[in-house]
């Protein structure tokens, strides 16, 4: 994997690697992720040929065995020339989870970062339009967090009732 040599030359010690079946991962722990993530992805895009952001999603590792950091944002990158893939996992922690936005590198990250913010509450400083995308804008919670109750906090019934006399 030649991209690992490039990464080691520039970011030695800032990341760990792991593999599961065909998935090659680059893992950034919470204390390194905020500073290292953007230059690392930029290096992967511009020097290693990973020009396609295939996916971007969030994970909540609350109550997960052996987990040290809580939130994770996973960037799935593809090299459209060679077909090679790599997953970059960047962690973030409570109380203020945030990671740099990568919309400057891939415009396709726009809606996906909004979705991760909406569902997990991970903020992305540098995002051009940091609004909610799935839930109503006045919503307060982040529903895909593990400590969010399945039925919510009663938000689903906070609407005025229309009676026959109103209509």
């Amino acid at each position: 994997m030649p991209y690992l040599d490039t990464l080691n030359a520039k970011f030695a010690g800032a990341f760990a690697t792991s593999a599961f079946r065909d998935n090659q991962r680059v893992v950034l722990s919470a204390e390194k992720a905020f500073t290292v993530l953007f230059p690392l992805l930029k290096c992967l895009k511009e020097e290693c040929g990973f020009d396609f952001l295939a996916e971007l999603g969030g994970i909540d590792y609350l109550h997960y065995p052996h987990a040290t950091d809580r939130f994770c944002v996973v960037y799935g990158l593809t090299n459209t020339t060679t077909g090679e893939r790599v997953w970059v996992k960047a962690f973030a922690n409570d109380p203020d989870p945030e990671l740099p936005s990568v919309v400057a590198l891939w415009k396709g990250a726009d809606w996906m970062e909004r979705e991760v913010y909406d569902m997990y509450g991970v903020r992305f400083p540098g995002h051009p339009d940091p609004r909610r995308i799935l839930m109503p804008s006045e919503y307060t919670g982040h529903p895909l967090r593990k400590d969010y109750p399945l039925r919510g906090y009663g938000e689903r019934h906070n609407f005025p009732t229309v009676t026959r006399a109103d209509s």
């Binding site: 609350l62 109550h63 839930m135 109503p136 919670g141 529903p143 593990k146 400590d147 969010y148 109750p149 399945l150 039925r151 919510g152 906090y153 009663g154 938000e155 689903r156 019934h157 609407f159 005025p160 009732t161 229309v162 009676t163 026959r164 006399a165 109103d166 209509s167």
Partner: protein, 201 residues
């Protein structure tokens, strides 16, 4: 109104009868279809089931021209203001059919985003059970609605004027408090039915 004031009292009932007869055989549905029930609603309009036999074939996607709203499918909380606006834009007299388990009670989607019955937000006349209901069941509900219109309708729709009260269910399911623990539906390790997870401070 002017006509009813001029006529003697004993003609009021036949006029109601005629108006209801006209209304019940010319229901124009507003399809508010969000999910699988919507496919059954489309099938009801197909040649096999032919909702046109009951004068209800004129599906209109403009609420100004409809008099019965068929809510088919699950309604998320983001959709409720839209549903209420469409309902308010329909002219009187108007009726509502809640089609399927999701529209009537939330169905299996007892989650943070799906409302547990549209009758908490707009008045509903007929509920259709099923997940999804067959087209025959929707046709049955239209026949029931026609019977309701014939029996309770009035020429000036005054039967709606007195209904200021909230008509939805009174005994709502208890909402989870913010401080309560999550109860997951099963523990695969110990095979217990319920387990409570520790809350995070």
């Amino acid at each position: 109104m002017a006509l009813t004031n001029l006529l003697p009292d004993f003609l009021i009932a036949p006029l109601d009868y005629l108006a209801n007869m006209a209304r019940k055989h010319s229901l124009w549905p507003m399809p508010f279809a969000t999910a699988c029930c919507g496919i059954e609603l489309m099938a009801t309009a197909s040649s096999r089931y032919d909702i046109a036999r009951f004068g209800s074939e004129a599906m209109r996607f403009s609420p100004r021209q409809c008099d019965v709203m068929i809510v088919a499918g699950r309604v998320a909380m983001k959709m409720v203001p839209v549903m209420q606006r469409i309902w308010l834009q329909m002219p009187e007299p108007k009726w509502c059919i809640s089609m399927g388990a999701c529209a009537s009670s939330g169905g299996v989607f007892d989650t943070y985003a799906v409302v547990q019955g549209i009758d908490r937000f707009i008045p509903v006349d007929v509920y259709v059970p099923g997940c999804p209901p067959r087209p025959e069941q929707l046709i049955r509900s239209i026949l029931d609605l026609q019977e309701k219109i014939q029996r309770t309708g009035t020429i000036d729709a005054r039967e709606f004027a007195s209904r200021t009260a909230y008509e939805g269910p009174t005994a709502l399911a208890r909402e989870l408090g913010a401080e309560e623990a999550i109860v997951a539906p099963g523990d695969y390790n110990t095979a217990t039915r319920l387990r409570s997870l520790p809350t995070v401070n």
